[in-house]
């Protein structure tokens, strides 16, 4: 059991998202950085998709009411446990009464914006429509269908594997799976239905311009700033299903990338879609930073998904081995 000590309007319980209820109008939700969530769970010996707390406003503080192993991944927030510094991407065990504090994400080339707190046994909230993720629109899932508040007490499921004394960590995914274009973080994109209905200049700009992430960017969508993307003629569409990662172009030509809390349908023209394997990169990109879109093929998208899976499988194997080896020692 943990108790939230901060008023943290935007910290929510998330897992890998809700599949299968799009047809009832229910979006995916889920962790903005799925690899960080999975990594935290792997360190603890949890199931990969166990629920965790996604923190995006800092500082964030909580108290452990009972002895509990936990993992922190995602942004390096200079975390401390009763004042003792913890490395980022780290799992260890807190004693009852200890206070965990996350500060603002540290600046640097690999600065990220969201931290994930996984608990041994997973965050124990009810499964709603196949997921524990918080669905803010409609107010269900997660912790009572809302963001966490001071005084909330959150339980962990039954722990599985014991954690070695001193804990251990994983190399962050941003290092093992680094991707850049002209020294700017890159996101691979497949052209979408309306790509061919944009001017050649706009198509060029999509791939060549650095896109700045504006402050109007959150779990629903990232509004990007760059050269205006102009259609050859006005485009009116019928409402249709969309996915997180779709790059929509509303009037005005400044693109919006729909993110995890996006609604499951839309009608703005779509110039492309960030492949699933790269969406975590955007989910961690800080406000004000720039990203590049890199055109990719279907085969490259599949290869990228497989590369992520290999990274996860290797981390899982080594983490399991280490826990077992240390438990036997």
């Amino acid at each position: 059991m943990i108790e939230i000590l901060s008023d943290t309007a935007l910290a929510t319980v998330q897992d890998l998202g809700r599949a299968g209820s799009l047809g009832a109008g229910v979006g995916c939700a889920g962790a903005m950085d799925d690899l960080a969530l999975i990594a935290g769970n792997l360190l603890l010996g949890n199931a990969q998709g166990d629920a965790a707390i996604e923190v995006q406003v800092f500082p964030f503080q909580l108290r452990f009411e009972t002895r509990l192993s936990f993992a922190l991944t995602g942004a390096d927030c200079g975390a401390t446990l009763d004042g003792m510094p913890l490395p980022p991407w780290w799992a260890c065990t807190a004693e009852a009464g200890q206070v965990l504090r996350l500060g603002p994400p540290r600046r640097g080339a690999l600065q990220a914006s969201r931290a994930y707190l996984c608990l041994a046994g997973g965050v124990d909230v009810p499964m709603m429509l196949g997921s524990r993720s918080t669905q803010l629109r409609g107010a269900f899932g997660g912790f009572n269908g809302r963001a966490l508040r001071r005084g909330d007490r959150i339980a962990a499921g039954p722990a599985t594997a014991p954690l070695p004394a001193g804990g251990f960590g994983l190399e962050p995914a941003a290092i093992g799976l680094a991707l850049e274009c002209d020294r700017v973080p890159a996101l691979r994109v497949l052209p979408a239905a309306e790509y061919d209905r944009y001017t050649a200049t706009s198509q060029d700009n999509l791939w060549r311009a650095p896109w700045r992430i504006t402050p109007q960017s959150d779990r629903y969508g990232y509004r990007l700033a760059g050269p205006a993307l102009e259609p050859l003629a006005p485009i009116e569409l019928r409402s249709h299903g969309i996915v997180p990662g779709v790059i929509q172009v509303p009037h005005g030509g400044q693109p919006i990338v729909q993110m995890r809390d996006a609604q499951p349908s839309g009608g703005y023209p779509k110039i492309g879609t960030i492949i699933d394997a790269d969406l975590w990169r955007l989910g961690q990109a800080p406000i004000g930073s720039r990203v590049r879109f890199v055109r990719c093929s279907w085969d490259e998208a599949i290869a990228a998904a497989e590369e992520n899976q290999r990274w996860i499988a290797r981390a899982a194997r080594l983490a399991d081995l280490y826990r077992q080896h240390r438990a036997a020692a």
Binding site: D76, P88, W90, G167, F168, A174, W311, A315, L318
Partner: protein, 127 residues
């Protein structure tokens, strides 16, 4: 015969050895190669050794500064260095409250079980 510490350090520096320890009545000199330098493994310091094979890291891969640079005060159980094996990061923990000492191996060097990695100066008396 009298040998100075610097003379021994010069011998070690020009030798293929990594470390040299002289023990005698009233004498204890323990020197180790650290990159291009020769450092003292002070008799009053604990030496933290590698718990296995891996790459020795004073810095976390996400960070610019060391987890605990020499002279930093740390608490018992604090992570002061890392040993990286593939994507796995094993901790080197402060054995007690004290002060982190000088590194004895180079950043990112490959080390084996038992390799001395850094000095640690525990607080006097009971922690």
């Amino acid at each position: 015969m009298t040998v100075t510490r610097d003379a021994v350090a010069a011998v070690l520096a020009s030798s293929p050895l990594n470390e040299l320890e002289l023990r005698g009545p009233g004498v204890h000199l323990h020197l180790r190669r650290s990159g291009d330098a020769i450092v003292d493994v002070a008799a009053s310091a604990d030496v933290i050794t590698a718990p296995g094979v891996g790459q020795f890291l004073l810095r976390h891969p996400l960070q610019d500064s060391p987890l605990a640079s020499a002279g930093t005060r740390v608490v018992a159980g604090q992570v002061i260095a890392l040993l990286q094996v593939g994507p796995l990061l094993r901790p080197m923990l402060a054995p007690a409250a004290g002060v982190a000492g000088a590194p004895l191996a180079a950043e990112a060097s490959l080390v084996g079980y038992g390799t001395a990695l850094l000095c640690f100066h525990p607080d006097a008396g009971e922690p």
